[in-house]
Symmetry: C2
Subunit: 403 residues, 2 copies
Amino acid sequence: MAVGSSELGPLYPVAGVSMATVSAGIKKAGRRDLVLFGLVEGAQVAGLYTTNAFRAAPVTLAMQHAGLGETRYFLVNTGNANAGTGAAGLRDALACCQKLAEITGTRVEQVLPFSTGVIGQPLPVDKITAAIPLASQTLATDGWLDAAQGIMTTDTRPKAASRQIHYQGHTLTITGIAKGAGMIKPNMATMLGFVFTDALIPQAQLQTMLQRAADKSFNRITVDGDTSTNDCCMLVATGSSGVGLEDQALHDQFVEALESVFLSLAQGLVRDAEGATKLVSVRVQGAASRDEALKVAYAVAESPLVKTALFASDPNWGRILAAVGRAGVEQLDVSQVGIWLGEVCIVANGGVAADYSEEQGAAVMAREEIDILIHLGRGDHQDCVWTCDFSYDYVKINAEYRT
Amino acid sequence: MAVGSSELGPLYPVAGVSMATVSAGIKKAGRRDLVLFGLVEGAQVAGLYTTNAFRAAPVTLAMQHAGLGETRYFLVNTGNANAGTGAAGLRDALACCQKLAEITGTRVEQVLPFSTGVIGQPLPVDKITAAIPLASQTLATDGWLDAAQGIMTTDTRPKAASRQIHYQGHTLTITGIAKGAGMIKPNMATMLGFVFTDALIPQAQLQTMLQRAADKSFNRITVDGDTSTNDCCMLVATGSSGVGLEDQALHDQFVEALESVFLSLAQGLVRDAEGATKLVSVRVQGAASRDEALKVAYAVAESPLVKTALFASDPNWGRILAAVGRAGVEQLDVSQVGIWLGEVCIVANGGVAADYSEEQGAAVMAREEIDILIHLGRGDHQDCVWTCDFSYDYVKINAEYRT
């Protein structure tokens, strides 16, 4: 059901990063559900965390530990979100970090825990701690695909992206993985995203780069409008290349590559969203502010009526118009509003465009990737969000998730 | 697929109101799709209209005409919303009113038009004007059920409710009909609601009564969060009983009956919402303000993940907790939050309640009518919204709506 090719392209190793993917049997016996990332000493870590007030225990702990610096490990499990688990959840997450710290001779604060899966069930600490020794013994510089598969929940495909920059004899690498297919309206990050580079970047600069890249990617996608309790997006700079970004041309090239990795991962989530058959961009231009552009874009992108019409390839543009109209824009002059489906103008001057034909609309709606453009005619701000359609399979996947 | 009994109970005539339901063949030949209400001279009319910026042409006209007073007719068609139709839409709606005015010897401003159905297609004026003579000739004091059926779109059942008040030898009657099953998050009224009484009530007081009753009923339901372009809710007091509401006891009894008619109609919409198998109330208590209570209630009531869990009768309370957490309440202290499914406490102190068992939750979720109570522990404000679950049939109905 996912949209577009599942081809990932080459996934380059990142100097200073090692990884292992093993089975702890958290939800299903034999499933490889525990991923460990090892970071070289001195690696800088930036993080974005969910804004959901019911932040999961591992997120709370990861924030605390990351704040202390000197991070050496990311310990990630799928199958259990350790969210809505109160004080016991914090104790359980800490116990897993503690086990890894003991084995590796590090301090517990140097381990950041991440969890994804069902909310509200106790973390099976014994299963996880039993699998940690094998993970720590099998850390290797390759294994991105295994890791990307290891953090999946209802995802049907692993998501990973990699870029290399060659500049004046130097090579910098950026490689990342992400997961998430439902409960997706990241407000900081996707369910889980881990991106690594061997560039040498101070932590404060790294955090700024992460925020900017996320604001153009993970923070602009929505599957169902439900922000998860477990969203985390981490960006690591190991510095192992020895190359910093003081040169402005290299810096700009690096940021472009970084943002392309982020966008590829974020769109990968939408392409593989629960039940998705289409990838849809909703771009709003001519807004009085960026907030206004986003408000309208989300109103359209999250409308169940728009999303079921997209699923049916039905150019029922009245639903887009209705969603724009209810988005809460003060004093919207509908006579100034224009709406395009792909290259076809469907609404002009507050009503159907004079030369619009149903055939034109149907031709665009039949595509697997659809661009919706809304021009509000109120100013020069714009923004864009990505979403998917709403299918029988979304209901099926979410009605049967725990059974 | 609708929830609960379809039994409507007795529908009492209202002195001063007549009605006719005929076929104009707007979408399907033979379908009775045109409803005409006649009002006695002097009847007072109060109205609430959609807040969608893309207000449909008939809504704009109904607002203008109602503002001039002396309303004598409501002309209602289904099968075509006459929305997103620009200047032509206004001209078309006016032409239908004009035809009725000519036949009945009234002024065009005394006719209020209402439309519901597909957005963005030209109103078939010729078909409607051809059917108007028969409608005006067959006006009768009874026929509520026909009228309620005549305004349906994807509704599977007519919605109507009626109450009588007996007080010191007088009888006052309130009878109303409504329609709507999708694109339902009224922000003024349901898609269409018409309630009539023979009480003698000045227009200003009637408008206040309508606003209050709608705020406790139509303005508290959501099916898919999509506010329609055509929402209208009208309350008519014909005065034909000759009985006013100066007596406070009678006034209070009347308001109670009126609000019970409104709530019955509003819940009727949710019970028959597209694909609905459950009627769900989401009540938020302990909020710092009523706005805050509503924000949380709508976040839960509109969460596709909560709604699919309700469809599956899965007590996946983690999704309710996640929706509360993302609702945007500033500085929410999750340790103060409690959540109940029916009588079962599922969340206390920010995590699963100590004595909660999955069996208890499953027993509540198996019911056809489910109450969700969320206590925020921040103040003493509260509010409640009603919604339904999210099923395969919702997707089916909305993917196939125009085919």
